[in-house]
Amino acid sequence: MTSLQAAARSAVHHAVSATAVCLALAACSAAADDTKPATPMTRYETPKDAGQPAQTKTADQSEPAKAPEFSAHGAFSNICGFCHEDGGRRAGKGPQLMGTEKTDEQIFERIKFGKPGRMAAFGGVFTDDQIKQIVVYIRNLKPR
């Protein structure tokens, strides 16, 4: 097991801040990013139901699919989880998001604008508000 894996496991089991591990939010790349140092700036307000399990309604079978009620967890199970394993708790095709050292702004920008050849830009899919909910969901991630 590499030091990267060992540190990730340690973060999961002991729920410590992953300061010993350099984790990048260049999703679908486990390599360290070289963007600005992580200094938390704005913290988005926590909506009431952020981080709760999906409340997503299923489409009525007899109607065309409607736009779903938004939930960050639902977004992970639909879309994000393809690369960010276990609801964002584990690295896989993309880096681990739980305990990330990235700032809220950096996470927001990455979701909105993507990274060429690494992660799609989701700014057209989620509103700014929904992206902020995803950021809050990520911040609230705990080991299962």
Binding site: C83, K93, A120
Partner: protein
């Protein structure tokens, strides 16, 4: 010897062309007629379509390089691709001394096969704003040649024809509304008679994955076949989807299939349905997001190349609830014991063996760790399905990346063995209810949170390359790999098996017994194609390098270094020859 005669003829043609044109060996793809494609096996010095020939053996009879001398194989030349995000994933073509290949963002290169000198390059003008929003992007898996053109499917939903001599665009035809559906083309097209056939991306994507037939000369779309719910005359198939779920059913035919001239049938594989996982579990016949068997997803379809009409099909996994596409996997036409078979690997780890009318004759497992079903009978019946309800589940095998993957295997008619990479890995997952996102653009519809784990009872995830009887699956030999290769295989008449490793080493084995004969470090992993060809009478091996496919991206986490440190935007075409 027949082979030498062809090569000499090709060489003479090339020299004559060079005498007239400022670019050498340009007679190539202009002369790729349908007849030549039909008889491609008779030109082992050329590789004229993605799978080599319509038999899809990924084999060449060339034996100038063989078990006796492969130890002296060395680099002859290489070509560096630009913007090679997610590495090179394509199969080059080699026609009359010219090598053509694609890299990411739909760039296409024509190179002198002997020297690597660039003859021309073509860069498609893409809707890059759209491409930035795609997940299964920006790579390209390959091209087709015919009628003076090199055909390529684009990320933003077009089929283009580039002039093989000059590299100029002859025509482009928009086939998919990618701006709305998000998906486009990444797979190679296939020339059949006077048509070019290509399939859209789209398994866990909420559309209906069409396969298209386009006129090879004019570029006019002639037909499309909807893999989900079929066309208007396949009404019954829509009844295999509860309610309107067929409208967002998925099922793309995203890799190149093949063609049987004896039955005039195009064989094509279709992708999984959407959402990928189904929270209704065992109640899937009547409940859940897509009740029913979901035709024609995770199926093998036989289409009339002239009309696109469905002639026959076999659904490998009815109501696929695991993402085990039939869209990947070559269709190998193999005769054995006086019978004619079509051998097709399915992503779930089983190999399906059909007769020429797509009736299963035998089904055998290529990998050890399978529990999504208990078994599949030789008539194709699934036994002991593991349907996963909403909630947590452990150790679903194989993992979502499959027990077999989209890179090709090989069949060697001399050893009579079928070679492929097997993946031994599983996932723990939690299935959740999801709803398709269609506005403003379609998005993935997975339906679960998952994480990769070794199979229960195994210490780690791993892979293997096996030589097996293609019909019975009997193992002749198995080469263990701590880290599974994720590239295509090649075998030759020189009795060689080439395996491009994830660790960057291209290895050559004795195809009869798996003995390692040669290896060369290419600088980074391989996740694409490998061919052999001749130029000016000399045999070459050409392999693409690069890393970062949607399977390979996980290797850094699962296997550590060097995978974690691989560049994500690099790719080189490497070509080898004897001194």
């Amino acid at each position: 010897m027949k082979r030498w005669k062809n090569q000499v003829a090709g060489g003479v043609k090339a020299v004559a062309a060079a005498a007239f044109a400022c670019v050498a060996a340009q007679a190539g793809a202009a002369d790729v007629t349908y007849d030549r494609l039909l008889n491609a096996a008779g030109e082992p010095g050329n590789w004229m379509m993605y799978h080599g020939t319509y038999k899809s053996w990924h084999y060449s009879a060339l034996d100038q390089i063989n078990t006796a001398n492969v130890g002296r194989l060395q680099e002859a030349w290489s070509h560096v691709a630009s913007r090679a995000y997610r590495g090179l994933q394509s199969f080059p073509l080699a026609i009359d001394g010219v090598v053509y290949y694609t890299s990411s963002y739909n760039q296409l290169y024509a190179l002198d096969g002997a020297t690597g000198q660039m003859l021309w390059t073509y860069k498609q003008k893409l809707n890059e704003d759209l491409v930035a929003k795609q997940t299964h992007s920006p790579y390209n898996r390959g091209i087709a040649a015919g009628y003076g053109n090199i055909y390529m499917g684009t990320l933003d939903g077009k089929l283009v024809a580039v002039d093989a001599k000059t590299g100029k665009l002859n025509w482009e035809t928009k086939l998919i509304n990618s701006e709305k559906l998000t998906v486009g083309f990444t797979g190679a097209p296939l020339v059949v008679k006077d048509k070019v056939i290509i399939g859209a991306q789209g398994g866990e994507w909420p559309y209906r994955g069409p396969i298209f037939g386009v006129d090879a000369k004019s570029g006019q779309q002639v037909w499309q076949f909807f893999t989900v719910g079929g066309n208007e005359d396949n009404g019954d198939s829509r009844n295999t989807w509860g309610g309107d779920s067929w409208k967002t059913g998925g099922g793309g035919g995203w890799m190149a299939g093949s063609y049987d001239p004896e039955t005039n049938s195009v064989w094509w594989g279709t992708g999984n349905p959407a959402p990928l996982y189904d929270w209704a579990g065992p109640d899937w016949q009547n409940n859940g997001p897509r009740p029913g068997v979901n035709l024609y997803t995770t199926s093998v379809v036989l289409l009339d190349p002239d009309t696109g009409k469905l002639k026959g099909y076999w659904q490998e996994l009815p109501h696929d609830a695991w993402d085990f596409d039939s869209a990947m996997g070559e269709f190998m036409f193999i005769d054995q014991g006086g019978k004619k078979y079509v051998v097709h690997p399915n992503k779930g780890g089983f190999v399906f063996v059909y007769d020429r009318n797509a009736n299963p004759q035998k089904v055998w497992p290529f990998v050890k760790n399978i529990n999504f079903v208990q078994t599949i009978k030789d008539d194709g019946t699934l036994v002991g399905r593991r349907d996963l309800r909403e909630g947590k589940h452990e150790n679903l095998c194989p993992a979502i990346a499959g027990g077999l993957s989209w890179n090709s295997g090989s069949y060697n008619p001399k050893t009579k063995l079928f070679y492929r990479v097997g993946y031994e890995w599983c996932i723990d997952l939690e299935v959740v209810k999801t709803t398709p996102v269609l506005e403003p653009m379609a998005q993935l519809n997975i339906g679960a949170d998952f994480k990769f784990v070794p199979a229960k009872g195994e210490e780690r995830m791993y892979g293997h390359v096996d030589g097996r009887d293609p019909i019975t699956g009997k193992v002749a030999f198995s080469i263990h790999y701590d880290v599974p290769p994720h590239a295509s295989l090649l075998t030759t008449g020189g009795n060689l098996l080439f395996v491009p490793g994830a660790d960057g080493v291209l290895r050559a084995y004795d195809a009869s017994n798996g003995k390692l004969l040669w290896g060369h470090q290419n600088g980074m992993g391989h996740n694409g194609g490998i061919i052999t060809y001749t130029a000016k009478g000399k045999q070459y091996i050409a392999v693409v390098t690069g890393w970062g496919s949607l399977v390979g991206d996980g290797y850094g986490e699962w296997f550590g270094e060097p995978y974690a440190s691989y560049p994500k935007d690099a790719g080189v075409l490497k070509v080898f020859a004897l001194p």
